[in-house]
C-alpha cells in the first residue's frame, strides 16, 4: 500500500497512517471493498510497531471508514455519495488549515488571499490543458 511514515514530523505515526488511508479513499485510490494489508504485514513492511497499525485501524473502524469481518482481511467501507463528498471536504479543510495560519501571520487581507488562491487554481488548470 502507498503509505509513507515520517518519524521526524511531529504527528504521531498512527495519525499519519489514518490520514493517508483517508486521503487514498477520498482520492479514489482505495475503493469500497478493497482489502487492507494485515497489521502484521504492514508493520513488517513499514518497520513500525504492530500496535501502532492496529491503533490506526481501530480508529478508522470506529469512524466507519473501514470494516472488520471475522477471520478475513479488513476492507474499505461503502460510503454513501454524500458521505464521500463530506470526506473530500474534510480532507481539503485539513490541508488548507495551515495556510489559514500563514495568511493570518503574514497579515494578508482575506480578499487578496482568495485572489491568490483563485489565480493558482487557474494557472494549474491552464497547465493541465496545455499538457493535453
Amino acid at each position: 500500500m502507498l503509505i509513507v511514515v515520517d518519524p521526524q514530523s511531529g504527528v504521531p505515526i498512527y495519525r499519519q497512517l489514518m490520514d493517508q488511508i483517508r486521503f487514498h479513499i477520498a482520492s479514489g485510490l482505495l475503493r469500497p471493498g478493497d482489502e487492507l494489508p494485515s497489521t502484521r504485514s504492514l508493520s513488517a513492511e513499514l518497520g513500525v510497531n504492530p500496535m501502532t497499525i492496529s491503533k490506526a485501524y481501530s480508529f478508522l473502524e470506529r469512524d466507519a471508514v473501514i470494516e472488520r469481518r471475522p477471520g478475513r482481511p479488513l476492507i474499505v467501507a461503502e460510503l454513501a455519495a454524500g458521505e464521500m463528498r463530506e470526506e473530500k471536504m474534510d480532507q481539503l479543510r485539513e490541508t488548507l488549515a495551515p495556510s489559514v495560519t500563514v495568511i493570518r501571520q503574514l497579515g494578508v487581507p482575506r480578499e487578496e488571499a482568495l485572489a491568490v488562491f483563485g489565480e493558482m487554481l487557474r494557472d494549474e488548470e491552464n497547465d493541465t490543458e496545455e499538457e493535453r
Binding site: V5, P7, Q8, S9, G10, V11, P12, I13, Y14, R40, S43, A44, L46, G47, V48, N49, P50, M51, T52, K55
Partner: protein
Amino acid sequence: MKKLLEFDGVHRAYDRGVDVLHGVTFSLNAKEIVGLLGVNGAGKTTLIRIAMGMLEAQSGSVRVFGMDPRECPVDVKRRVGYVSEDQILPPFLRVRDIIDIHRGLFPTWDEEMARDLASTFSLSPEAKISKLSKGQARRVALVCAAAHRPELLLLDEPAGGLDPAARREFLETSIRLLNEAGTTILFSSHYMQDVERVAERVVMLHDGEVLIDRSLDDLREGHCVALVPAGDGVTKQRLLGIEGCLGVRERTDALHAVFALSPERSAAAIATELDVSNVNCRQVALEEMFIELVGGQS
C-alpha cells in the same frame, strides 16, 4: 497485566562514589517494545547489565520473569536475548561455530529462523569473526540473540555505528520477533527515528532517575515546546513555576519550555501566568523533545 521485567528503586554507584542510577523504577509488560533514552553516561548500559545479571544493584531490586537474574542466571538467560554495542565474539571462530555454540545453549533454538536471518543478513557461515565488518559482527550477534525466540530481548545501542540499511534490518527483525514469538523488547538508542518507529513507550533516564515514562503517542500529542521571547518578567524560574512545565532551556533571545500540555493549553497557561500572548507552542518530534529536555538542564 503480567510484568516481564521490573526495576524497583534500582541504585548503582561505581567505585569512586559516582552515582549512576539512584532509584530507577519502571517495568515492562508482555509484548511491549520500550525505548530507553538518555544522554551518554545516563546509565542505560548499567541498567541493561543489571537486568542481565552482569552487574548487581546496590539497593533496590530487578526481576526478570519474576526471578532475580543474579540468583537464577541460567533460567533467566535461556529466555533472554541480548545484543550490546561492544559485544565481543571470539575472533578466531567462524560464524558457523558461534551459531553452533548458541544452538547448544538454548533449548528453544529455532533453526529455521536462524537460517532465515543468516541469509537475510547475507552472513557466510565459513567467515572468520575476525574478518567481519562491525555491521556483520553485530548481525551475527543478533542472529544468536533472536533465533532462540527469546521472551525478552535486551538491545543495548544495537544500531550504534551501523548504516541506515543495517539499522532497518535490526528494526525489522525486532518486529518479526514480536510478531512471531511475542517477544518483549527493551532497547536503548540514540537514533530517535528508530525509537519512534518501533517503540510503543519511551523511558528517559536523566541524572540517575526516570525523567519520563510515557507512551510515544501520549508524548507527542500531550506535550509541546513553547518558544517564549525573552523580555520583561520572562524568567526560567517563572516558567518552571507554571504547572505542567517540565524543563526550560535558555537560548539567545528566547526561552524554550517543554510542557506536558497541548499547545493550546500551554499558550493559555503562559498568557495567564506571564502575561505574554501569542506564544508559539508546537508539537515536536522525539529528537527535539529529547534535546529540549536534557540538553538544557546542566
